[in-house]
Symmetry: C2
Subunit: 237 residues, 2 copies
Amino acid sequence: MAGRAAVPEVIWARPERTGRGPKPAFTRADVAAAAVRIADAQGLDGVSMRHVAAELGCGTMSLYNYVPRKEDLYELMLDAIGAEHEMGEPSGDWRADMLRNAYETRAIMRRHPWVPRLMAGVYGFSPNTLRYLEHCLACLEPLEVPYSIKMELVALLNGVVTTYTANELATAERTRSMPWSEEEENAVRIAYLGSQVATGAYPRVAAAFMEASGPIDLEAVFERALQRVMDAFEPRT
Amino acid sequence: MAGRAAVPEVIWARPERTGRGPKPAFTRADVAAAAVRIADAQGLDGVSMRHVAAELGCGTMSLYNYVPRKEDLYELMLDAIGAEHEMGEPSGDWRADMLRNAYETRAIMRRHPWVPRLMAGVYGFSPNTLRYLEHCLACLEPLEVPYSIKMELVALLNGVVTTYTANELATAERTRSMPWSEEEENAVRIAYLGSQVATGAYPRVAAAFMEASGPIDLEAVFERALQRVMDAFEPRT
DNA sequence: CCTAGTTACGTACAGCGTACGTAGTGCGCT
DNA sequence: AGCGCACTACGTACGCTGTACGTAACTAGG
């Protein structure tokens, strides 16, 4: 592979090993794991080709033998994350199973707060993404609607999980490289919000904040959203 | 403003002009507009401090008088986009109004394909975001549920719009800097998907693709998702 | 009026992705 | 068997990034 390809390429379609030449020092999984380790420890901005190479213990440019562009490294990372889904045998209760899947996805994202930011830029199926989709369809076997509708349900649920968890994690991931804490930043933002609401320019927003007595139960909000989406797909009795 | 602040700061809380010193050559809106113009024309990666400064016709470092960090430039851009919502008088039919809002949001994102990627990393309310939230609550006036539930509905609808449109736009925004077209890349990805499905390892995914006769009607899928979410919030009769 | 706070901006630096060239290795083919 | 080529490894170098810092010009408040 002398130069970079002038034609689109999916990294998963490229064989990991062709047989010719000295055998690679690492597997694709090694590379992905190293990148994930760095992202977990230092945030997504710590994932540079140089750092990942150093983590693996090889020269920077050697990385390009495994990954043609940095973007493909991102795809490797997302796929590695996808392997963390448990995907056990479906129970026969599709709502329970999908709820479990959603909570698991959220747990994975909390373990790897950089995932939402990565998902916004990358599109396409990877091996583990496909496995997860297959698993979801297996869980939805008892639901008697066409596959097209099942796909829409999976997409909708994943979308809800992603946006909810992304909002929860955005500040955490961002303040990582800042000299202040997540709590300090949130306090400042809430203070601004309060000052704006106090101007009276947003009466209904103000009323909404008045109505909320204590702190919001994010857990309950999350689960309610999922249940509502699933309600909408329950076949009419 | 000698050095950078060691304490969190919301750009909207910082006054645009304090009165002392020579008056700035541009307004905050000028800066935002220049950045948006570049992002529209060259993609989000074209938005560098140097390019934006050049677009404005000033030195690079002068930009830092208007925007303490690049991230704040992003917030300016998102706020500028928020101003494109029409926010007319609510009709009294909350479903029609919210549907209209959703379609408008999608239209805005299509006009500015970099918006989804930016939304993944930035959190917090800006003046126009607040205006939009207030507008949504105004549209939801006829819906007789507590404000907390209305907020959840707004969040859920916005989430759906964002994830659906993001998926639609991800490839477009990414292939912008590539030597190949969006169609070519999609073809390669679909070819890979087909080859994987053909292995038989994903029987249900295969069945789902078999079932789909023609190309998917993305428009119908989008609208169905919105309707379903709104269904779930309709008070039980 | 003076001076402190602001705008403007050139220079400089560390870090980034990656193009390119070279050296060494070992499988596949003749 | 052995030639040749595809592959691995990696150092160097280039253009680009965000932004810290220093300096000069300017203007409103005391």
